[in-house]
């Protein structure tokens, strides 16, 4: 497989290594983040005329799922402002390197039983269950964003490094999952250099920079999932052994996961995309009502169905498909590791489901972005003269063909992935491919 090292170019490397450009982006985004919270609390409670809804759930979401994740993997995490204040307190500095011990964190180790992404699976599911109000009500969005903000600060105060990003962030979980697909990676140039490196400043920190905030030893990086692309190791490596590479898409899926928390992340994402497509974009008013009337009987029924689909129905059918594949291949090992490994096929499928779903509301509601740009708080401003642009769905004629292409691409991609990982897992991929095909047909049926 061919890789092109981007850090070969001095300009790129200098931009990545220097702390100022990163800080500038951080600062701009932190200001935007704080403004979103501010807008949610004091702006108009009407979502489509409030910065917090329009810029978080339409503009940022579109940017994230249509561009950042597929092409840059954890590129968003590299600039996400949420950990910044906590990290400042933890380190005692935001730009220059502070002497060790200057920060104010207890610096505890994250507890062992939670060293997985189950917490992220849960946090995402919680957000998903309340999505009908989070996505539509500025106040609720502001509360959720504030909660993330203070949770990030709090976890930096108690634990070492970026515990929030690594173990709690509801968004970080799926970005990590789908970053395996991205054609961008941070890796070491040679593992030999790392083996002979005694100090491991990339992990422990040095005078040149901090130890990996993501608790990753770059020398052992096999996949993108937990590398936040923060570029700290690029600064600390004493032998210039860190590279940022362009690579073929979905390279990481060749070495599939053995972990059930990661496998379940894939099911949660596919299941949530299917349910959202039906509930939010579908023509069934009763479903919307159930999702919206939080705390009512129908909402609990909705929660029950939601959780059953994500955690029982989709995984158990998949386990059956994997089992069938094992019978076809006449393998008699345990199902669990093969199940975890084969979940790789759901990674491209799930990402393309989310792309197709997001296209369905991003183009429809894109004109709100222009209006909210001029009047971000719904206070009657007209900063850029675009405040009165009426709502007008864009590219409605292109939507169905585009969604079809995206879903077909996802289907083929997942079939290819299934084939790639099947032999190592000791299964025949056909049942899994049929599972993915059926899921795609259901998604098409819901969207079209």
């Amino acid at each position: 497989m061919t890789r092109h090292e981007l850090t070969r170019f001095p300009l790129i490397k200098a931009l990545l290594k220097n702390r100022w450009p990163q800080l500038a982006v951080y600062a701009a985004l932190l200001a935007g983040f704080i403004f979103a919270i501010f807008a949610g609390f004091v702006g108009s409670p009407v979502g489509n005329h409030n910065f917090s809804i329009v810029f978080v759930w339409i503009a940022w979401w579109a940017m994230l799922i249509l561009a950042a994740v597929p092409f840059f993997g954890r590129g968003w995490c590299a600039v996400c402002p949420i950990p910044l204040p906590g990290e400042w307190l933890q380190r005692g500095a935001i730009l220059e390197l502070a002497p060790t011990g200057k920060g104010v964190s207890l610096g505890r180790r994250w507890p062992n039983p939670l060293r997985n992404i189950w917490m992220q699976n849960i946090s995402f599911t919680l957000v998903a269950l309340f999505s009908s109000v989070i996505l539509t009500m500025p106040l609720i969005t502001a509360v959720v964003l504030s909660a993330m903000f203070f949770l990030a600060i709090g976890s930096s105060m108690v634990f070492e490094r970026r515990a929030f990003c690594r173990y709690l962030c509801p968004v970080g979980g799926f970005i990590g999952l789908y970053s395996q697909i991205a054609p961008l990676e941070l890796r070491v140039k040679t593992t030999r250099a790392c083996a002979s490196c005694k100090e491991k400043p990339c992990y422990h920190g040095s005078e040149a920079g901090y130890g990996c905030p993501w608790q990753v030893f770059p020398g052992g990086l096999q996949k993108n999932s937990y590398c936040g692309l923060c570029m700290e190791c690029l600064r600390t490596c004493p032998v210039d052994n860190i590279a940022v590479n362009l690579r073929p898409f979905s390279s990481d899926l060749a070495t599939p996961t053995k972990r059930l928390d990661e496998a379940f992340k894939a099911f949660i994402m596919v299941g949530a995309a299917l349910i959202y497509a039906g509930v939010l974009l579908g023509p069934w008013g009763a479903l919307k009502d159930a999702a919206y009337r939080i705390g009512s009987g129908v909402w609990f029924a909705y929660v029950g169905v939601f959780l059953s689909v994500l955690f029982v129905l989709m995984p158990s059918l998949y386990a059956l498909a994997v089992k069938a594949g094992m019978l076809l291949a006449k393998t008699s090992s345990a199902v669990r590791p093969a199940f975890a490994a084969m979940s790789a096929a759901l990674v491209p499928l799930g990402l393309m489901f989310w792309v197709a779903f997001s296209l369905g509301f991003v183009f429809t509601n894109a004109t709100y972005i222009l209006a909210a740009l001029s009047d971000p708080l719904g206070w009657g401003w007209n900063l850029f003269g675009t405040a009165n642009i009426p709502w007008q769905p864009l590219f409605t004629g292109l939507l169905a063909p585009l969604q079809t292409l995206v879903l077909i691409a996802g289907m083929l991609w997942s079939a290819e992935t299934a084939q790639k990982v099947a032999s190592a897992a000791g299964v025949r991929p056909l049942p899994v491919i049929i599972y993915c095909l059926l899921a795609t047909l259901v998604m098409l049926g819901l969207l079209l």
Binding site: A400, L412, I433
Partner: protein, 150 residues
Amino acid sequence: MKSAMIFRLLMLAGGLALALLPSFAQAAPPVERVFRIEASSFAYKPGQIQLNLGDRVTLELVSMDVVHGLYLDGYDLSLTADPGQTARLTFVADRAGSFRFRCNVTCGAMHPFMIGKLTVGPNHSFTLAAGLTISAIAIFLLIHPRRASQ
């Protein structure tokens, strides 16, 4: 091995049939139709409408609680109705496929998701997409048979 090949070829044929055949289906003769659509926060009743290509359709939008509207994707048509003031719109359904209609008057939190579906003729959008997906996967399996049967 041979049966696997036949299975894939059948799958391809089935997919192509699903994608293409509905276009040749005998269309029902166009008629005049009137649909009364009741809009309340945040749903249309009925939420799904089925027409034939060429039908002359009148949509009657009746708002049951607050001011709602209706914007029809693909046809770029819109309507607004106050409670007590039924809004009417007549058009000829000359584009086949499925189209979402959406509320175009902010009517509360879930307003962006107040969506219905209008299907003209057999749901071409879906049959074409599903047929193409099945054909694509059949072709894929034909091209990569060895990996698939490893």
